[in-house]
């Protein structure tokens, strides 16, 4: 169990770094889907089966395919526009990211009472999850469904609108 956690988190971090730093966009999306899968594995490790499965279903099944489609439709496959001044940009990026990281790690370390929190061996059954989703969390559920329909209609309108004007 312990080895599994460290192995998966190493894979997670390495593929995340690759996902953002590779030049060929196809490999980027591939590494992004490895990130999604390994975070789903972490969810399974944390005994949140339902969320792990939903993560795989939505992220790897749909989001990765969408990203691939987007990469296919836009021509610049290998982003070559690294002009000379690029180095400075990277250093800015690294600086801000590490600043944020330092702040987060600082906040984690300052929390003293985290250590004795032990994992409760309670496994939420999917049935109770479903019940709770439709009773206690009905409002977020309805808002999420509203948002999904809005996003679907928005996506289509953006794609379609272009066709009307150009034809």
């Amino acid at each position: 169990m312990i080895a599994a956690f460290y192995l998966i988190s190493v894979v997670l971090i390495v593929s995340a770094v690759l996902a953002v730093s590779l030049r060929n966009l196809i490999y980027c999306t591939l590494c992004a889907s490895v990130v999604f899968i390994s975070s789903a594995a972490l969810f399974f490790l944390l005994k949140a089966d339902f969320i792990g499965v939903v993560q795989i279903l939505i992220y790897v099944g749909a989001v990765a395919t969408l990203l691939l489609f987007a990469v296919m439709l836009t021509k610049n496959l290998v982003s070559r526009q690294y002009y000379v001044g690029q180095k400075r940009k990277w250093s800015y990026g690294i600086f801000t990211a590490s600043a944020v990281l330092w702040v987060l790690i600082g906040s984690i370390r300052s929390q003293t009472n985290l250590a004795e929190l032990v994992t409760a061996d309670h496994q939420l059954s999917v049935v109770s999850l479903g019940k709770e989703m439709l009773t206690a969390f009905l409002l977020p559920f309805e808002v999420a469904s509203l948002l999904l329909t809005a996003a679907m209609i928005g996506g289509i309108v953006i794609a379609l609108e272009e066709k009307k004007k150009s034809s």
Partner: protein, 397 residues
């Protein structure tokens, strides 16, 4: 003919042993392992046994599915099918396997070597992974997850991604066309497939496949209910499309785009694509059998024989489709998924709702009524052209 001393209970008891024969085999190996190995390794041994069995059964199933397909489609076309290699052509799959191994493995010039190599592997992984979730017999499911069915759909949906990567990796217009068609088809048939499985989840209140099978003891399988039968038909048609099989095999249409997304693959890589397709045929038929035909539930025979009987019955229907149907056009393919399968499976969910809360007679009558009416309406909406009954033919004098 039977020895009179052989009482009925002996037959039942021997069937019982035969039923649990694999489970006991594994238990004996486990006891052996427990006595020898330290505790964490025992868990590893049990995992390895299951993985080993599935990894052995997977390819064998795939090989003999190719043989079965060539025999059945042959017999449909009034010819014999392979019978030269081995007694009934039984060694034909092995001959094909060797041929695949020895074929030269060509990577198109300018193709993306990493993707070209990676994608056949990525296609086979979900197909094999899913075999672990299936209940092969009474307490013979390798993995009994509480979210079994949902994980099944999640894993099969990752297959779409690797098909697309494979086609992009081979830098060939035909394979890219095939991949675009394949992704469109797989995504648009995944929704009716999941919806028609939701019907069973609503009835049995669980997502774990093993419990769904347990909820169909003896002979009262779900297929004998109105919503169960329509659910099976819808699920089965959607899974035929999901495996890119005959009426829906647009992505690898030989006549139009050479071989679709696996045009540029030869030798072992093509064999992997082929294996993924047939393993998916097996696993989706097994799932359809588990959800609607009561997986390994059956009156007399041992449980795993029932499992294989039902699965190969459904596979025979898929091969029967292969021998019968021409290929659908892209718009018919898409229209059928969105304009017929999806509304029909939603109506099916309504019927299950009625089924759980109404009394049996009302449920039966209403169920059949709603399904019949909705089928008629949807059929009416979907028929675009009207076939004249009595056409007058003017023959050339």
């Amino acid at each position: 003919m039977l020895d009179p001393r052989f009482r009925g209970s002996d037959i039942k008891e021997c069937m019982e042993n035969l039923d649990q024969i694999f489970v006991q085999a594994k238990r004996t190996v486990m006891n052996l392992a427990e006595s020898v190995l330290p505790q964490p390794l025992v868990l590893l041994v049990s995992m390895l046994i299951s993985i080993g069995v599935i990894a052995a059964i997977g390819p064998v199933i795939m090989m003999y599915l190719t043989w079965l397909e060539r025999k059945v489609v042959g017999r449909i076309q009034n010819r014999i099918g392979p019978n030269r290699v081995g007694k009934f052509g039984l060694l034909q799959p092995i001959a094909d396997g060797i041929k695949m191994l020895t074929k030269e493995d060509i990577v198109p010039e300018g193709a993306d070597h990493i993707l070209h190599f990676l994608s056949p592997v990525l296609v086979v992984v979900p197909a094999l992974l899913v075999l672990g979730l299936l209940p092969w017999g009474r307490n013979m499911a390798a993995v009994d997850l509480q979210v079994g069915l949902l994980l099944f759909f999640a894993i099969t949906s990752t297959g779409t991604l690797s098909i697309f990567l494979g086609a992009w990796g081979s830098r060939n217009k035909f394979s890219l066309l095939g991949a675009l068609r394949a992704v469109a088809q797989l995504i648009s048939y995944e929704i009716p497939q999941v919806f028609s499985a939701v019907v069973v989840i609503m009835h049995t209140q669980t997502i774990s496949i093993v419990e769904i099978v347990n909820a169909q003891p003896g002979f009262n399988w779900f297929v004998f209910t109105p919503w169960g039968f329509t659910g099976l038909v819808l699920f089965y048609i959607a899974s035929v499309a999901e495996c890119n099989r005959t009426p829906f095999d647009l992505p690898e249409a030989e006549s139009e785009i050479v071989a679709g997304f696996h045009t540029e693959y030869s030798g072992m890589k093509f064999a992997l694509f082929y294996m993924a397709e047939f393993l998916q045929v097996f696993s989706l038929s097994a799932l359809a059998a588990a959800l609607f035909l009561g997986g390994w539930q059956g009156p007399f025979l041992p449980s795993w024989i029932w499992f294989f009987l039902k699965t190969y019955g459904l596979i025979f229907i898929m091969l029967w489709f292969r021998g019968t149907f021409p290929r659908l056009r892209v718009d018919q393919l898409m229209g059928f998924a969105w304009k017929f399968l999806l509304p029909m499976s939603m109506i099916n969910i309504v019927v299950v709702g009625i089924w759980t809360y109404a009394s049996p007679i009302v449920a039966w009558v209403l169920g059949i009524l709603i399904i019949a009416i909705s089928f008629g309406v949807l059929a009416k909406l979907n028929t675009r052209y009207h076939i004249e009954r009595n056409r007058k033919f003017i023959l050339a004098e």
